[in-house]
C-alpha cells in the first residue's frame, strides 16, 4: 500500500470516528423534550377525558416516555406545592371522582400561582398516567400531567 493510500484510510477512519463520537455525544447529552414548545396532540376537557380513563394509558402513554401532550380544560380545584418547589394545580369538576393533577416547573410556577380556585383554565402538559380507581388505595387516582403551563 502506498503512502497516499495509507493517509487516505487514516483520514477516513479519523473522520468516521469523529462523526460516531459526535453522534454518541449528541444522543448522550440530548436535552429533555420541551413540552411547552412542542405541538399539542390533543385538546380535551377534564370530564371528557375522565370518561375514557380506562384506555388512557394504552392511548396516550409512549414506550419511551415521550407520551402525548395534552391541553386540558377544567375548573381549578386546588393549588399546592410539591417537594421540588413545583406548583401543582388540580383541575376537577365539583362532584367528579377524579381530576387532572398538573405539575408545573420552576419556569412556569408563576402562572400557576396567579390562578384562583374555581377559575376555568386550560393547562398544557405531558401525560404520565391516566386516572383510575385503585382498590388498594381505596381512592380514585388523578390523571397526571407534568411540565405544565397555563394556556392563555
Amino acid at each position: 500500500m502506498n503512502k497516499k493510500k495509507k493517509k487516505l484510510i487514516l483520514l477516513v477512519v479519523i473522520v468516521g470516528m469523529t462523526v460516531a463520537a459526535s453522534i454518541a455525544a449528541f444522543m448522550f447529552f440530548k436535552p429533555h423534550r420541551d413540552v411547552q414548545s412542542a405541538r399539542t396532540d390533543l385538546v380535551i376537557s377534564a370530564n371528557e377525558y375522565l370518561s375514557s380513563a380506562d384506555q388512557a394509558n394504552e392511548k396516550y402513554l409512549d414506550e419511551a416516555g415521550l407520551s402525548k401532550i395534552l391541553e386540558v380544560n377544567g375548573l381549578v380545584h386546588s393549588i399546592t406545592e410539591d417537594y421540588n418547589n413545583q406548583m401543582v394545580v388540580l383541575i376537577k369538576s365539583p362532584g367528579a371522582d377524579a381530576g387532572v393533577s398538573c405539575t408545573f416547573t420552576i419556569e412556569t410556577n408563576a402562572s400557576a400561582e396567579a390562578l384562583k380556585v374555581g377559575q376555568l383554565v386550560r393547562i398544557k402538559g405531558v401525560i404520565r398516567s391516566g386516572a383510575a380507581y385503585d382498590e388498594d388505595l381505596g381512592l380514585f387516582e388523578h390523571v397526571i400531567l407534568d411540565k405544565s403551563d397555563v394556556i392563555k
Binding site: 414506550e63 410539591d82 413545583q86 404520565r128 398516567s129 391516566g130 385503585d134 381512592l139 397526571i144
Partner: protein, 171 residues
C-alpha cells in the same frame, strides 16, 4: 406503649421518591414527586402507588431507556405498587406529636413482578398530620430487570437505593 384507635385513613398526595444507582463508572439518580399513598392508622396498612413515567432523570436518553421495553416497560406497567403493614403499630401514636421508628413488611410490585420487602422508617407526627421517611434497597433482577451486555450492564448498579418521603393528612 401507646395503642391508637383511629379509624380514619390518612392520604398523601405530596411525596418524593428518589432512587440512586452507584457504580464506579457512573452515579444515576431519578426523582418522582407524583406518588399517592395511604396509611390506615388503625390497621397499619400502607399503600404506595407510583406512576413510573414521572421519574425524572438528568439525562433525557437515560429517561427514555428507563421507560423503554428493555428496562421498566412503563407503557405496559405504568404504576409500581407497594402494599404492606407497619409491623410495630403499637409503638406509633398517631395522635401524639413526636418522632417514631416504624418497621414495614409487605410486597413491592414493579414491572408486573411482586417481591416481599421489609423496610424501616421514621414517622413524624405533628398536629394531627404526619410524614413518613424511609430508605431501602431494591435488587433489579428480582423484578426481571437484568442487563447482560452493553453500557447498562456496567453503568447501572445491580442493587439500587430508594429513598422516600411522604406527607399525610386525614382523608
Amino acid at each position: 406503649m401507646a395503642f391508637t384507635k383511629i379509624e380514619d385513613k390518612y392520604v398523601s398526595q405530596k411525596s418524593h421518591i428518589k432512587f440512586h444507582s452507584s457504580t464506579p463508572l457512573e452515579d444515576i439518580e431519578a426523582n418522582n414527586y407524583k406518588a399517592v399513598s395511604t396509611v390506615d392508622a388503625s390497621t397499619g396498612n400502607v399503600v404506595f402507588s407510583v406512576p413510573m413515567q414521572s421519574f425524572e432523570f438528568e439525562k433525557a436518553l437515560m429517561q427514555e431507556h428507563f421507560n423503554g421495553k428493555n428496562f421498566l416497560s412503563t407503557k405496559k406497567n405504568p404504576k409500581a405498587k407497594l402494599i404492606g403493614k407497619i409491623t410495630n403499630l403499637g409503638e406509633v401514636d398517631f395522635t401524639k406529636d413526636g418522632t417514631y421508628n416504624g418497621s414495614f413488611s409487605g410486597e413491592m410490585t414493579i414491572k408486573g413482578e411482586t417481591q416481599p420487602i421489609t423496610a424501616d422508617g421514621k414517622i413524624t407526627v405533628k398536629e394531627g398530620a404526619f410524614s413518613l421517611e424511609s430508605t431501602f434497597d431494591l435488587t433489579l433482577t428480582d423484578y426481571g430487570i437484568a442487563f447482560k451486555k452493553g453500557k447498562p450492564s456496567t453503568n447501572v448498579a445491580k442493587t439500587i437505593e430508594v429513598t422516600l418521603i411522604a406527607e399525610y393528612a386525614k382523608q
